[in-house]
Symmetry: C2
């Protein structure tokens, strides 16, 4: 495929891990594991304490289908690990998309996440390009789009 010269060795998806920076690891884990029902062993890596300059290792990991891994990591530690300080907490500048097979499923899932503590920012509606979707923000402000998209063949 076309990425062979820069991503020469990957055999599955190009992006392996999505790490969300969170203010409160316990709260974020509760939202994704207990609220949304994503499977996780809970917080691991607590044996790596870190210090003022070295990041601690405590993290929550979710193994999703397709080999993709979602992790929750304190923003203070991600900033140290990346050597790239973050500013004050604010909403993220991206969105993660989750597709479902019907419009009714879009409505139902947004109701579920709202009950789990998310903020629905855009109620589901039709886009001119054929997608029916709504958005929510998780307790740390990360933006998700729940969509019905007939062009996604594998849903």
């Amino acid at each position: 495929m076309g990425v062979t010269h820069t991503f020469p060795h990957r055999r599955t998806t190009c992006i392996h891990v999505i790490t969300l920076a969170v203010n409160d690891l316990t709260r974020a884990l509760a939202f994704y594991r207990d609220g949304l029902g994503l499977p996780s062993e809970g917080v691991i890596g607590t044996e790596f304490a870190g210090d003022e300059t070295n990041p601690a290792g405590a993290i929550a990991i979710f193994h999703l289908h397709g080999g993709l891994i979602l992790t929750l990591y304190p923003r203070t530690e991600l900033a140290k690990d990346a050597h790239s300080p973050f500013g004050p907490p604010k909403t993220g500048e991206f969105s993660l998309g989750h597709a479902v097979p019907t419009k009714e499923a879009v409505n139902a899932l947004l109701a579920t996440v709202a009950a789990a503590g998310a903020t629905v920012t855009a109620a589901p509606h039709e886009r001119p390009w054929g997608i029916y979707s709504g958005y929510f923000r998780d307790p740390d402000g990360h933006l998700w789009e729940i969509m019905w998209n007939p062009q996604l063949e594998d849903i």
Copy 2:
């Protein structure tokens, strides 16, 4: 799997689309397609013009292995689509992880992205939990971690 009550219908990965908000769609496309070599048809959806309240449709799409889709979308339009205004441009509060099979490949890929205009924030080094990695920010500030992780079995 454990998410059946909230994500009942998905058959592949749970996250289908990662949308990065960008300031300049042409610049971002050039970085990811021409600089990193990710395959894309270029900007599509320009027939949906949008207006002050409705988002325009112009977007760049990358179909990655595993069914995952990476899209680049102007931050002004994502904010309108999500009904959730963004603040001034700043660095994102997450990271996307790309795993490679050797430490040498980590070094080589970071050199490639630096040549394509990325800013390497953390040179590759060993973490106490067994990962060798470095970080870069793309031209819009989005954070990526290039890692060698012996625990990722499918690399």
